[in-house]
């Protein structure tokens, strides 16, 4: 038993989230020593504010990636939902009603992705490659290609603070991750995610309704993408058809950086959370260090490759230990 408690500590120290957490601290300390404005409330606020939308989409992407799927239409889905919501708000509809419809749009789009994936036995990557174009087109048709500005409407999600200090935005982000964590760890749905991601055939034979479950995973991701759209619309106060584009790859990037396996079956949402914070922090750090902004994407790329290397090294050492 001694052995297992020792390996428990070792497990945490060598886990992907912990290594990333160290990386975040290193980046923060180094940046702050060059530009002392980095570790201030204003900067941290801006980093976490940026992280909210991406974080919620990434939480959904985590469930899909672990179950062996991708949704690369989430970026366009965010754009579509935001445009539709902005138009409804500008027509004087009740904001609560608008929010519900916004989330519903994303859930319906996601369920569609799920149904196509299951019905055609197609890779979800290809299905969502197709549907993202459809979502983009609908958003263009809705807005006629124009930017929809809200003029101060629908600000409360982004600006409300509990007790005057804790922004609602953070609470939404944390609750989103907490619920995803709970689903993955404590529910049947979570076990289904891991089982189907590991061995679909064995899962089916063990009594799982694989098809229905896959659609369910897409639907959960849809709820999170919908909430992300609400948060982003409130923060930006404007929307156009191109809004959100690129988030899908950033989200999958965050999931991979967080240590979840692209082959499915392995990973968790804690890693994704740390990955999202790391990505959001890097762009601010680049800004504050006066590094040419053109380097930003290169650094993203390098971080993802580094994360893959860490995962590979960890897997290798685990294999060797056995």
């Amino acid at each position: 038993m001694k052995k297992s408690s020792k390996s428990g500590v070792l497990k945490i120290i060598t886990s992907q989230p912990f290594i990333l957490f160290l990386l975040i601290i290193i980046v923060a300390v180094v940046t702050n020593s060059i530009n002392s404005k980095f570790l201030t409330w204003v900067t941290i606020n801006s980093i976490l504010g940026q992280a909210a939308g991406l974080g919620l989409v990434s939480a959904g992407a985590t469930i899909l990636v672990i179950s062996g799927h991708f949704d690369i239409s989430t970026g366009r889905m965010v754009g579509l939902a935001m445009c539709a919501m902005a138009i409804m708000l500008n027509n004087g509809m009740n904001p609560v009603m608008v929010s519900v419809i916004g989330v519903l749009i994303c859930v319906i789009c996601s369920i569609m992705n799920g149904i196509f994936t299951v019905a055609f036995k197609a890779p979800s990557f290809v299905v969502t490659l197709a549907t993202q174009n459809i979502f983009y087109s609908i958003a263009l048709l809705l807005t006629n290609g124009y930017m929809q500005t809200l003029y101060g409407n629908y600000r409360s999600i982004a600006s409300h603070k509990f007790f005057g200090i804790i922004p609602l935005l953070y609470i939404i982000l944390l609750v989103g991750f907490a619920i995803t964590y709970y689903i993955l760890k404590h529910t049947r749905t979570g076990r289904q995610v891991y089982a189907i991601g590991t061995n679909e055939r064995a899962a089916y034979i063990s009594g799982l309704n694989v098809k229905w479950n896959k659609i369910k995973f897409f639907a959960i991701s849809g709820v999170l993408v919908g909430i992300a759209s609400m948060v982003m619309l409130s923060r930006i106060s404007a929307a156009q058809a191109t809004t959100g584009y690129g988030m899908e790859t950033e989200a999958i990037g965050a999931v991979v950086i967080g240590g979840s396996s692209i082959n499915g079956g392995k990973g968790g949402v804690v890693g994704t959370f740390v990955g999202v914070i790391l990505l959001s922090m890097i762009s601010t750090a680049i800004n504050m260090l006066h590094i040419n902004a053109f380097y930003e994407y290169m650094i993203y790329g390098i971080i993802i490759i580094m994360a893959l290397a860490i995962t590979a090294i960890r897997n290798y050492s685990v294999e060797k230990a056995n």
């Binding site: 529910t187 089982a195 590991t198 061995n199 063990s206 009594g207 396996s261």
Partner: protein
């Protein structure tokens, strides 16, 4: 046989093979001469495939000498061996369906014209002349492969091998998927080849077929060479006895108990292909064995009963109540469990923990999982089934085959069930764990459950079952009382001899 039939094409001396200390092949000595048909005979897992793979260069022998055409080679690759003139034709057809016959024959060594393009005409001409030599009148070089029957495709494989100047041809169950008429023409082709001096190594489960074309029989059992017999000096009965003769110590001495009163009725199961109208009655408390060769339809029947594979017909009853499942989920809800023969592919979640592997089916019952209770159930099962693991969170892939299998049995026994189907439950399991698995199977029978046991291991089937249903070519041929039969008798029934 031609005059220089004494020339040795292949000599195998004291060949041994072991994997991680486990011997799968021991001291095999055999030679193949020109124009000879040498048959490898043995049960499933006797070592025939291993020996073929060594000859074909797919794997290296751990000890002994393989001499090709009088010469010994070291570290040969499969490609070198093919180039030397040793071609292996496996049961699964190894051709490209969307190419013509001649394209397939010349695949990888295409003839080119001056411009560097493939010279289709010349290729077809050469192919046709080869085909003519073998009297295969129905095939043409320009035919698309998709248009050919399975038997014709087998012939194309042989043509391809001859095109590569094969002097030794290894045929692994070439007739397994052929009809009677096709079988005859293939055997005629084999005879034609021997008259051209080609040495044939032939593997088949069909004894009558072996006696029709074989000259020499190498009998293998549990990786060991039992004996070599010439056709002139032996009989089918003797060969069958050689195949299975073994010590009584291989038999497990099971406990017998009273058989229950309830009846499981398997009625008219049929998929119009691998299983044909199987009807059975099994009593509760009975271990019902299903015997037969690979491809007899046992596994297919089990999978239909479990609701996993599609069926055309078939109903399942316990006494008068129908419980025919529509899908595995439905089967589990009705208390029907199946442990698949493909442990890795269909049983285990290799990247997950022992806990998740044990709990997967039980966890389907409630949306919110009580983690504390889950741990308790897991630990209880790990100790009850004596699963050797560091702890419940260890990855299942780190466990031995036997412990993995015990995990799957644990998974199926957390909740009470009625019908348990074990498909090759001790495949790849060490002897110690085997006996434990036998105990678990018997415990279920003792609890008045219905137990179906599929096994290719004959001592296992005979010693574990109360009755044995023999399947052959998709049909249930006979149900025998295992106390009143023997390996010899059973093997004859398997072979339909």
């Amino acid at each position: 046989m031609s005059g220089d039939s004494m020339e040795k094409l292949l000599e195998i001396e004291n060949v041994t093979k072991s994997y991680a200390g486990v011997q799968v092949l021991k001291n095999v000595n055999i030679t193949l001469s020109m124009g000879e048909v040498l048959c490898f005979v043995g049960e499933n897992g006797a070592g025939k495939s291993t020996l073929i793979k060594i000859i074909a260069g797919d794997i290296q022998a751990s000890g002994g000498v393989v001499r090709y055409f009088g010469k010994e080679y070291e570290n040969t690759s499969p490609k070198q061996i093919i180039d030397m003139g040793v071609s292996t034709i496996y049961q699964d057809i190894d051709l490209v369906d969307n190419l013509t016959v001649s394209d397939n024959v010349f695949l990888g060594c295409e003839m080119r014209n001056k411009a560097g393009f493939i010279n289709t005409k010349e290729q077809e001409k050469k192919t046709d002349s080869l085909i003519e030599k073998l009297h295969l009148n129905e095939i043409k070089g320009s035919d698309m492969l998709t248009e050919l029957s399975t038997a014709q495709k087998q012939c194309v494989q042989i043509v391809k091998a001859l095109h590569n100047n094969a002097k030794i041809l290894i045929l692994d169950e070439p007739t397994a998927s052929l009809g009677d008429k096709e079988k005859k023409s293939l055997l005629a082709l084999v005879k034609e080849l021997t008259s051209q001096g080609i040495g044939i190594i032939y593997i088949s489960h069909f004894i009558d077929e072996l006696f029709e074309i074989g000259d020499t029989f190498l009998i293998l059992k549990d990786g060991e060479q039992v004996t070599v017999r010439r056709k002139e000096d032996t009989t089918p009965d003797q060969i069958i006895h050689d195949m299975i003769g073994r010590d009584a110590s291989n038999f497990y001495k099971r406990e017998y108990f009273e058989i229950g009163k309830r009846v499981l009725k398997i009625e008219h199961y049929d998929n119009r292909k691998t299983v044909q109208d199987v009807t059975l009655e099994i009593k509760s408390g009975e271990v019902f064995g299903l015997g037969g060769l690979i491809g007899a339809g046992r596994t297919e029947l089990a999978r239909m009963i479990y609701g996993l594979d599609k069926k055309k017909k078939g109903h399942l009853y316990i006494d008068a109540k129908e419980i025919t499942p529509k899908a595995p989920k439905d089967a589990l809800n009705k208390g029907i469990f199946m442990i698949s023969e493909d442990r890795k592919g269909e049983g285990l979640l290799m990247a997950r923990s022992v806990k998740e592997n044990i709990m997967i089916t039980h966890n389907e019952k409630h949306e919110i999982i009580n983690l504390k209770k889950e741990k308790e159930i897991t630990d209880k099962n790990i100790s009850a089934y004596r699963v050797k693991t560091v702890d419940r969170d260890t990855l299942i892939s780190n466990l031995s085959g036997g412990n993995q299998q015990k995990t799957i049995i644990a998974r199926c026994t957390i909740d009470d069930g009625e019908v348990y189907i074990f498909d090759e439950p001790t495949k790849g399991v060490d002897i110690g764990a085997k006996e434990e698995i036998y105990e678990h199977i018997l415990n279920l029978a003792k609890k008045d459950k219905f137990v179906i046991l599929i096994s290719s291991d004959m001592p296992e089937l005979l010693s574990m079952s109360d009755r044995i249903g023999v399947m052959c070519s998709g049909k249930l041929v006979e149900v025998v009382n295992s106390q009143e039969t023997s390996e010899d008798k059973l093997m004859k029934k398997y072979l339909g001899y």
